[in-house]
């Protein structure tokens, strides 16, 4: 049995047991997540379309339940768009899909899935999920919070790797150890910037060695969360009894990451790297000297923030830190993986490095990583994972709702060569995914998946679909982060930079491209539960606050979207209010308006027409004619509907 660490101040790796299994509590090796992945027999269910459906239906039948009916084609189209690209279908795409659906619904659905998986917006959407885990931000954090001018190059690498469907094992290898590969490419150097995204304290007078140690601890923690579904916790506040990897084993993992330095000021990227300098303009100012010009050119050359492995006498010996205090050295340790997991195979005389660790994660005997990865994809497509605590497969974690399905998915991911797109395709083609989300039995929990889940869309998507519905959206992909207008109430933007408000198209870029300055996170994103970027985030909380309602109601960006949408609809349809409202609903909710909605919105439009003719209102809108104003007010109603920001 592994030793439990209970001394305050120690770092422990909590891997271990489900709370409901007393056997496992005595023997961590018995914990479900460490059992080899089984190859479960697919239950024989006549009407199961796929193995996924067979596993789900088998469980449902045991409980005398069955699947909900398939969602309507419009719901399915909107669901696929939101889940795969995070954007809304256009009215033309809706019409085309309707036509194709009538001809052959199955073929239409499959073709749409393939089309969206091939869309460059797929990479934007799924990169955002990964960036949460990478605790990606564009600044250092802490009080200084200096900008990281080139952080976006890593962000763009992620988008690109996902769009080209880089197999997940390679995707992982390059991020954990790209710099250690033989003759690494520039792309691999950039990828290794994964572990440069952590917080960094550059404050004068701070203890830099302490901060370096904290960064290494964070790198271990993030690796644990992202690939092992493990929680690395500082035991100082921990009064929970749980089994753990020993303190020594924690510092053996620490040792993998303890011999790097930051590539500052960054590794210059060659002209053929494809990265364009965002700030430097080749327009020499007469007053600038040649030397100054060269300096500026160099400063403007794109650089990869990456890691450099130390060599020779620079290498550090790692120690156990007694009580978590880095100045108190305990036993000397070398890189090694926890004994509770599968063995790390390296040549006897070789000290394993990060590359070996990355390869170890994708070892055929690894029971946990494939489960963690498959579960996380499932979570993105159902709102909740088969293991609902996707960042904790250990002591405090929830047991899987469908253990056999989880194992099948884990095995399938590997069989598909770690193709993220193929894995997603497999899931979204299932009947389980395509079910209606209507909660027809409110008292019945959905653990067994008798329906899809309704989920409020993520913070970035709230923004993106407003821009998408209004037609303001810029579809430009990648490049330096943008600075959409900050609400007036945010004035403190740290000491290091101002907030240079973006102009033109950049004001309408997707939420993913908004500069993430750690001390001044964009308030709209924070209001809708975007993570704080300080630690790896595997699942976002979903809150609901009056500030969200106020943001939707009055935020200038959202009002501008309603204004543009209302005006366009008015110009297009004039006095044909039926057609106008139908169009409005189609562009935002991506379906036809029901009779009841048509009546309600027509009445409302009529009321707005009368109530907005008062002089002060007309004046406040400056030149907008009343029918336009009424349509804007109507558009505002629709964009404020809960259904608009819900993925059903």
């Amino acid at each position: 049995m592994l030793k439990r660490i209970s001394i305050g101040g120690l770092f422990v790796l909590a891997i271990a047991v489900t709370t409901n299994s007393s056997d496992a509590a005595d023997d961590p090796a018995a914990h479900w997540a460490y059992q080899p992945i089984t190859d479960p027999a697919i239950p024989q269910i006549d009407d199961a379309k796929s193995p996924i459906d067979a596993f789900v239906l088998a469980r449902l039948r045991e409980a005398n339940l069955t699947h909900s009916p398939e969602a309507s084609p419009h719901t399915l189209l909107r669901r696929l768009h939101l889940d795969l690209t995070g954007l809304l279908p256009t009215p033309e795409e809706i019409t085309d899909f309707e036509t194709a659906w009538q001809k052959d619904s199955e073929a239409a659905y499959t073709a749409k899935v393939d089309e969206l998986l091939a869309s460059p917006h797929f990479g934007e959407r799924w990169a955002r999920h990964w960036l949460d885990l990478a605790r990606y931000a564009d600044s250092d954090g802490y009080l200084g919070d200096d900008m990281r001018l080139w952080a976006w190059i890593y962000r763009d690498w992620v988008i690109d790797a996902i769009n080209t469907d880089q197999p997940f094992d390679q995707f992982s290898l390059e991020q954990l150890a790209g710099d250690l590969l033989p003759k690494p490419t520039q792309q691999q150097i950039i990828a290794a910037g994964f572990h440069r995204n952590n917080l960094k304290n550059t404050e004068v007078g701070s203890d830099f060695e302490l901060d370096r140690v904290k960064q290494v601890v964070d790198r271990v923690a993030t690796t644990g969360n992202a690939w092992l579904g493990l929680t690395v916790a500082c035991a100082e506040c921990h009064d929970h009894k749980h089994d753990a990897i020993s303190q020594k084993e924690f510092f053996q993992l620490y040792a993998f990451f303890n011999n790097t330095k930051d590539s500052d000021p960054g590794i210059e990227l060659g002209p053929d790297s494809g990265w364009k300098a965002p700030v430097y303009k080749d327009k020499p100012d007469a007053k600038i000297s040649e030397k100054e010009l060269a300096k500026r050119k160099k400063a403007a050359t794109p650089k990869a923030q990456s890691l450099v492995e130390l060599s020779g006498k620079d290498r550090r010996q790692s120690f156990v830190h007694i009580r978590g205090d880095y100045t108190q050295h305990g036993d000397a340790v070398s890189p090694a993986t926890p004994a509770a997991l599968h063995p790390l195979n390296v040549a006897k005389d070789k000290i394993p490095n990060r590359l070996d660790l990355a390869n170890w994660l994708f070892d055929a005997d690894n029971p946990i990583t494939p489960r963690v990865l498959a579960n996380r994809i499932w979570q993105r497509l159902f709102g909740i994972g088969i293991v609902s605590t996707s960042d904790d497969f250990g002591t405090h974690g929830a047991p899987p709702s469908h253990p056999q399905l989880l194992d099948w998915l884990a095995g399938e991911y590997r069989r598909l060569g770690w193709s993220r797109k193929q894995m997603i395709r497999t899931i979204v083609l299932s009947s389980t995914y395509r079910q209606s989300s209507a909660n027809t039995q409110p008292d019945l929990p959905n653990d067994l998946l008798w329906r899809q889940n309704s989920v409020r869309v993520s913070a970035e998507t709230v923004r993106d679909i407003h821009l998408s519905a209004s037609g303001l959206l810029s579809r430009k992909i990648g490049g330096p982060g943008v600075y959409p207008p900050l609400p007036e109430f945010v004035s403190e933007v740290g000491r290091s930079v101002k907030w240079p408000e973006s102009k033109g198209e950049d004001r309408y870029r997707r939420g993913t491209y908004i500069v993430l300055k750690r001390t001044v996170l964009y308030p709209m994103l924070t209001a809708f539960d975007a993570p704080d970027t300080s630690v790896a985030c595997s699942r976002r909380d979903l809150t609901n606050t009056p500030m969200q309602a106020l943001t939707l109601l009055n935020d200038p960006v959202f009002f501008e979207c309603a204004e543009v949408l209302g005006r366009e609809i008015h110009e297009k349809h004039g006095d044909d209010i039926d057609a106008a409202i139908d169009d409005l609903i189609k562009r935002s909710l991506n379906r036809a308006a029901s009779d009841a909605e048509l009546t309600a919105l027509k009445n409302a439009h009529h009321d707005f027409l009368t109530s907005t003719t008062s002089a002060d209102d007309a004046e406040s809108e400056g030149g907008i004619t009343d029918p336009q104003l009424a349509m804007i007010a109507t558009a505002r109603v629709v964009l404020n509907l809960d259904e608009f920001i819900t993925r059903d």
Binding site: S454, F489, E597
Partner: protein, 437 residues
Amino acid sequence: MLQTASCGFGSLALQGLLGRKSLQAANPVPHITPRARRVIFLFMSGGPAQLDTFDFKPQTGKAPHAGSAFKFQQRGESGLWISELLPETAKHADKLCVLKGMHCDTGIHAQSALQLHTGDRLRDRPSLGAWIGYGLGHDNRDLPGFISLNTSRPSSYGSAFLPANYQGTPIGVNGEDMSLATLPNVTGDHLSTKAKRQQLDLIQMMNRRHQQQRPDDPQLDAVIKSMELGFRMQATAPELLDISSEPQAVLDRYRVGRNHLEGTCRASDFGRQCLLARRFAEAGVRFIEVNHGSWDQHKNHRRDLKANCRTTDAPIAALLEDLDQRGLLEDTLVVWGGEFGRPGITPGEKDKDQTGHQSSGFTFWMAGGGVKAGFAYGDTDETGKRAVAGKIHFRDLHATILHLLGLPANDLKFRHAGREHRLTGAEGGKVAHDIIA
């Protein structure tokens, strides 16, 4: 999980303390009788000089030492020593509970201010007001539970990993003209109130129709509730912020619009802030922060300190008077203090008129909300250099405030990133029971 997260108005912490599953035998919530229902925190940014305000350190006749540069007098029946710079506040001496043994960890402004607000010096953590909201829930349906006036860093009113609805709502930012300050997004000038109400009614009606597909969906229910609160805030908040209905005599007592701009003393319309604080307290806002800075008078110590005192003295007195008269002081805890204090001017360097930062000993005061009135607690040494008696660290201050609100200070926890967090940090805070009436 989703159910817990979407519980808009209730107390999440209570659920947390009771355990996620109602079937589990819960940790019993320690029963603490609340003495205060709300907090007004008067944050004196920059580090007020305690030796020239509340911690009287005259020369003792031995070797000359740093000490008070201004005159002090005993005030009220309690005989508390208060500086000549605060004549109006001094009239309320018998309401004050002066804490002279305050100390903290660092003399770096931003770090210490962050620690005072969140318990952590370096990282963004939930602020005191957010923890209180999380612990007690919001009981006002027309206003947010936590408002920060003339605020500076978002981290000082942030909710960090706590659910976003416990985040403070900032009104006005440091340095701006507070008479123009309003709530973010609370006013859309786009439509008349009637049209907005029509819009909202329609939105809510259509939301309910959507809900029919998902009956009893707690999430949608909460959405409908928070939209309603958001809407009502559009009506209540601007009204509360509009102080034009206050009698001139009240505006005069609070010195609304009057600043004494000298040196480090910045315009903050502190009088308006204090008046707004009273109005928010009356309206049932749980945690209100009022800000004035900067007390960081390094050079020209005397001149700038005078200006800071003149700007804040009468408004604070007016606030205490009004709270008392309206019966609010009983359950409103007023807390005054900065991120640290200052050492005295060293004799012999008197001409320099300079002070620095001091985290080893400084003064806070409290009033109302269940603390002893006309009471001085703790002390610094003879030269005012360090706290020697009745020591209260920021984490003890936090524990005491939570305790007065009826919250179990060291058991108010939230699980995040694999471990449990609490305001009082790893070490925990000690409740200063000696100051509780």
